[in-house]
């Protein structure tokens, strides 16, 4: 391989990696936001992503909706599901030991996976081609129009989220609850409500990722959330769990590493190498890339 074709290949894998990574980032945001507020690793999050993909699937096939309305419907549906899961499964355990909540989360995850199998059969479904996929050639690089869509939608959602978290009253309340729940209460913040909204937002973002993946890979099934869920969780830890820009960075990095490994080494080796690299990064930065410990002065 001469150096120019190497560079070409590198750039191509970078493009693939960033679009895959932005999907991981969307999922990772839900992990990190929920962890930030109630210190729970919501193991059911990957399955909410799967449910989002199915809502998108039925919205396009049964209801005949276009891409954007289907995406919106999936986001709203998953948002409500997320709020419901929090209300029914996690809130009653707010003061229970961590391990009880963690086991409940695994239970919710299994419930969603096998409940979906019962409801929609374990058979993979072919996601309809709601958008044509046209390769766009730039120089020697090929960008799929669907990759552009993935990037565009993810970027848009992340910009909106960043705005909401930094500049709106709800966003400030979320950050306050995340930093110090008791004091947030003293400010007059209804903590339960804020936690509920946090689940809604995180779940909606995961659903968007689910629909995008459906559009991109054409195939969805009830267990599709397990691997991306796991990777997005690692991405959130890599970026610094609880830190929103960290989840975005971690997700994109995860996607890029994965694409580079499968492009240059081997795609069977992809996950092992990706996780290996992440472990090495975490050895040097245990709090994650953007994770920091601000201590209060007393």
């Amino acid at each position: 391989m001469d150096s120019s074709s190497f560079l070409m290949q590198f750039a191509q894998q970078l493009i693939n990696g960033v679009s895959l990574g932005s999907i991981y980032a969307l999922i990772a945001l839900g992990y990190t936001m929920v962890y930030g507020t109630i210190k729970l690793i919501n193991f059911a999050h990957g399955d909410v992503y799967m449910v989002g993909a199915y809502i998108g699937f039925f919205a396009t096939t049964v209801l005949g909706l276009g891409f954007l309305p289907a995406l919106l419907l999936a986001m709203v549906g998953a948002g409500i599901l997320g709020m419901f899961i929090e209300r029914a499964a996690y809130r009653p355990l707010r003061n229970a030991p961590k391990i009880a909540v963690l086991i409940t989360a695994i239970g919710v995850s299994l419930f969603l996976e096998y409940g979906s199998m019962l409801l929609v059969t374990p058979q993979p479904r072919t996601f309809p081609a709601v958008l044509s996929s046209t390769p766009i050639h730039i120089g020697g690089l090929i960008i799929n129009s669907q990759q552009v869509l993935i990037l565009g939608v993810s970027l848009f959602l992340m910009v909106v989220l960043t705005y909401v978290v930094n500049y709106t009253k709800l966003g400030k309340a979320m950050r306050a609850v995340s930093f110090d729940t008791d004091t947030a209460r003293l400010m007059g913040i209804d903590v339960d409500k804020v936690i509920s909204y946090t689940f809604a937002v995180g779940s909606a973002l995961a659903a968007a990722a689910g629909v995008l993946v459906g559009v991109y890979y054409n195939s969805i099934d009830p267990l599709m959330g397990i691997m991306p869920g796991l990777k997005a969780f690692v991405a959130a830890v890599l970026g610094g769990i609880g830190v929103i820009p960290g989840a975005m960075l971690g997700g994109v990095l995860m996607g890029v590493i994965e694409a580079l490994v499968s492009g240059f080494i081997s795609s069977t080796f992809r996950d092992a190498a990706a996780f290996g690299i992440l472990i090495i990064i975490l050895l040097f930065k245990p709090a994650g890339l953007l994770g920091k410990n601000i201590r209060e002065k007393v």
């Binding site: 306050a176 209804d190 601000i294």
Partner: protein, 234 residues
């Protein structure tokens, strides 16, 4: 204005408050003094809804607020500056103050109140966009007080505002408390610095291992032999 009647508060099996009663009348500064672990913070946290008393009443302007959710008590006009300031360290000074006004929706008046706070605490005005966690201890105390004032409370509960501050700053903080009181806010002040607290308060209570052991006007208590020995080092 605030009437705490015979409350009993437990942490699991620990009986932290044993029939505590406190009365604060409109316009007063009332102080609650006592040694470490006497139950001062527990009393304030129970009033502001962070803890639920097992028995007893807490009447705020006639309404029983015992066991009411903390966020709803703030809306009634009762605000607390918690022990250790508890500012939101990862947010700017301005954002901290805005969170203080969380229960309000009158954005124009919130702006005016912000100006008032910045006038009262010029050091905060200079540091509006600074991360609150990088403020000095005294500045953090001012921020915590400013934040509590942003909800326009009718009564302000302060938990050891002098903690960890140099004598000069303690004086400044206490004169600000007097000033806040003079502009119409009733104050319930918890302090270990009994000398300073008694010097600005109208009325005082002494808390000893979960019980009120003494009460009276601040003058009476400052003159009493017991208080002088135990709390004023005389």
């Amino acid at each position: 204005m605030l009437l705490v009647e015979n409350i009993n508060v437990y942490y699991g099996a620990i009986h932290a408050l044993k029939g505590v009663s406190v009365e604060v009348k409109e316009g007063e500064i009332v102080t609650l003094i006592g040694a470490n672990g006497a139950g001062k913070s527990t009393t304030l946290r129970t009033i502001s809804g962070m803890l639920k008393p097992k028995t007893g009443k807490i009447l705020f302007e006639g309404q029983d607020i015992a066991g009411m959710a903390a966020q709803n008590i703030v809306k009634l006009g009762l605000s607390q500056v918690p022990e250790g300031r508890r500012i939101f360290a990862n947010m700017s000074v301005l954002e901290n103050l805005e969170l203080g006004a969380y229960i309000r929706n009158d954005s124009k008046e919130i702006k005016e109140d912000l100006e008032k706070i910045f006038k009262r605490f010029p050091r905060l005005a200079e540091r509006k966009t600074q991360m609150a966690g990088t403020l000095s201890g005294g500045e953090q105390q001012m921020l915590a007080m400013g934040r509590a004032m942003m909800s326009r409370p009718r009564i302000l509960l302060l938990d050891e505002p002098s903690m960890g501050l140099a004598p000069l700053l303690v004086k400044e903080i206490f004169s600000i408390i007097q000033d806040i009181n003079a502009t119409g806010t009733t104050i319930l002040l918890v302090e270990q610095n009994a000398h300073m607290a008694l010097s600005i308060a109208h009325k005082a209570y002494v808390l000893e291992t979960g019980r009120i052991s003494l009460s009276g006007t601040a003058k009476e208590l400052a003159a009493s032999e017991e208080v002088r020995k135990a709390y004023l080092g005389a």
